[in-house]
Symmetry: C2
């Protein structure tokens, strides 16, 4: 891109706000930064006031890069507006799930497959948060040893389901704390009132093994994203991937217990070296160390720790992987794609 | 045992209280029920007052069954007092971890291997909570198809680390709720004050992938229990077991994402039938259903749902398993062992 671009962020929920933050923090060179959302209003982000414009096809005139914040689970604004933006000359980077698996749409994690950006036809997709942090952690391992199998169990933060979902965790927690003030531990009533319209049950002091709707083989849509998107990003459908995705009462940062087996023989030292030399990864060489979600919040990297070998199976390992789902898992990755567009 | 026994519960923390509850609820036939703890005092359990006696070797005179509540992670009272009880004629059922792997000590989950009780030499061990619910879920599958591999990721409640640990979760949560009352979600400070002396970090709104100390191959003691105890209970050291054990901000009930592969070919229907016919298991035949920890609290069964096949590997499956870690995972299992002793 041979000009300083006009940039728009479409949608200003949890991911949209984080996109604005990433653009500012990374000093992304824009001529003009706009925000489009359903209704026009002013909003405050980190002390700065931004004017939000009501979204309209004509608004995309003169826009060079449109970052669609999207939302997991429901149709993103890109379904309605991506074509409008593209035909007016913008490149769309879409965080929504709607176009990720289309053949003509590159699905990009810059640390892994930024070269695929070149082939874009106006739309580039940002992968699912759970997938992104896993492929960043596994990229060098895949490159050096090829993955035979991935068995993933995730611990996912509420913000992955949007602001309303985090509000629900906070409301439930506040209600329980208030109702039980000064009570003895044995006398606590840990049930929040009302039915959750967001999760498949109470999320405060609970964990819920269902993210998204059910689909093939009774896997959830979230679980299938970790399969299908990983295959596409690694351009390797031979990897046997299976996962269980679980919501936990954490606001931000997803954790993943990743078990994997390589096709080529690999020792613990081989894997350790690959992780040490991985882009975007903070690797804890001490296998007894690890990151916690609260620590990863607001950070850009994927934190990988607790690397261990399976004592009974060769070339098989565990790692513990944590990353801010709103940043590397969504907003930051989209902004990194935009940065790569600038130098194409 | 050809008499109505005198019973003592040793230790009156989270598990000891639950032992008293199970004995009462199940109408366990005792002549006398005593409670021993470090110091003499009265305690109230579900509205009844119990006199606790200070523990002393002579106190075991006339005791027929001694249930040691034990604690995971530190040496249980059984290390000091089990011999004193046994030499005075008691059978000790120990919930602590100290004797579980000794050859002469049966390690018993009645639904799986109650026949091993017969060989006891005065001491019978209760397995670790995480192991118990997994072997109950897998028992019929092991019996019918033999397990080749188990890959476990656990979501463990704070009460597994004792009352103090649950108090810590409550204190941290209450402090954060109080400090942020009326605040906007974006302005929350989610950090509790002080360093945790119980967990490897803050547990409120966080998850911690370390339970117990580190041991061989950099697995934690909790993770190795799921390997070694499962081998012993199934009397089958050929099963390739590996696990990642994680603490979550839930008070009671552990959840487990269990991936397993059978030696003999098995279809989804085969596994479903085995689970349906499993003792102690509530099986959700609908693969889209599952239990949540809050629902399992106070219940006796192991709840198994979300049974799915691995789409890429034959005879390989996932299940989601939830159980009250203080009941089936500890107190109830010990009381069930005692019930089996009565009819020997």
């Amino acid at each position: 891109m041979n000009k300083i671009p006009n940039v728009v962020v479409v949608g200003i929920g949890a991911v949209g706000v984080e996109m604005i933050r990433c653009l500012k923090q990374r000093k992304f060179p824009f001529a003009k930064l706009s925000i489009f959302a359903r209704t026009a209003r002013d909003t405050d982000i980190d002390g700065d006031t931004y004017s939000i414009q009501a979204i309209d096809p004509k608004g995309f005139e003169g826009i060079d890069i449109a970052l669609f914040a999207g939302t997991e689970g429901e149709k993103g604004a890109a379904v309605t507006y991506a074509d409008e933006a593209i035909k007016r000359g913008a490149v769309v980077i879409d965080n929504g799930a709607d176009f990720r698996l289309k053949d003509e749409v590159p699905l990009v994690v810059p640390e892994v497959n930024k070269e695929s950006i070149r082939g874009h036809k106006g739309l580039i997709a940002n992968p699912n948060c759970t997938t992104i942090q896993m492929v960043v952690a596994l990229a060098q391992i895949q490159k050096r040893f090829k993955l035979e199998q991935i068995i993933l169990t995730s611990f996912q933060a509420t913000s992955g389901a949007g602001k309303k979902a985090s509000q629900r965790l906070w409301d439930e927690t506040s209600e329980i704390a208030e109702a039980n003030r000064g009570k003895n531990l044995d006398a606590l009533d840990k049930n929040a009132s009302g039915d959750s319209d967001i999760f498949a049950g109470q999320i405060a002091f609970n964990v819920i093994p269902k993210i998204g709707g059910f689909s093939r083989d009774n896997y959830t849509s979230e679980e299938l994203k970790t399969v299908d998107e990983t295959h596409k990003i690694f351009a390797d459908p031979s990897i046997k991937i299976t996962s269980t995705c679980v919501r936990v009462p954490v606001f931000t940062s997803h954790c993943e217990a990743v078990y994997f087996k390589t096709k080529k023989d690999a020792s613990l030292e081989d894997i350790s070296r690959a992780l040490k030399e991985s882009e975007g990864v903070v690797f804890y060489e001490d296998s007894q160390s690890f990151a916690l979600p609260l620590e990863a919040e607001g950070k850009d990297e994927v934190f990988v720790g607790r690397l261990r070998r399976d004592s009974f199976n060769k070339s098989s390992f565990w790692l513990w992987c944590v990353s801010d789902n709103l940043r590397k898992g969504a907003a930051l990755n989209a902004v990194q794609i935009a940065e790569n567009l600038l130098v194409l």
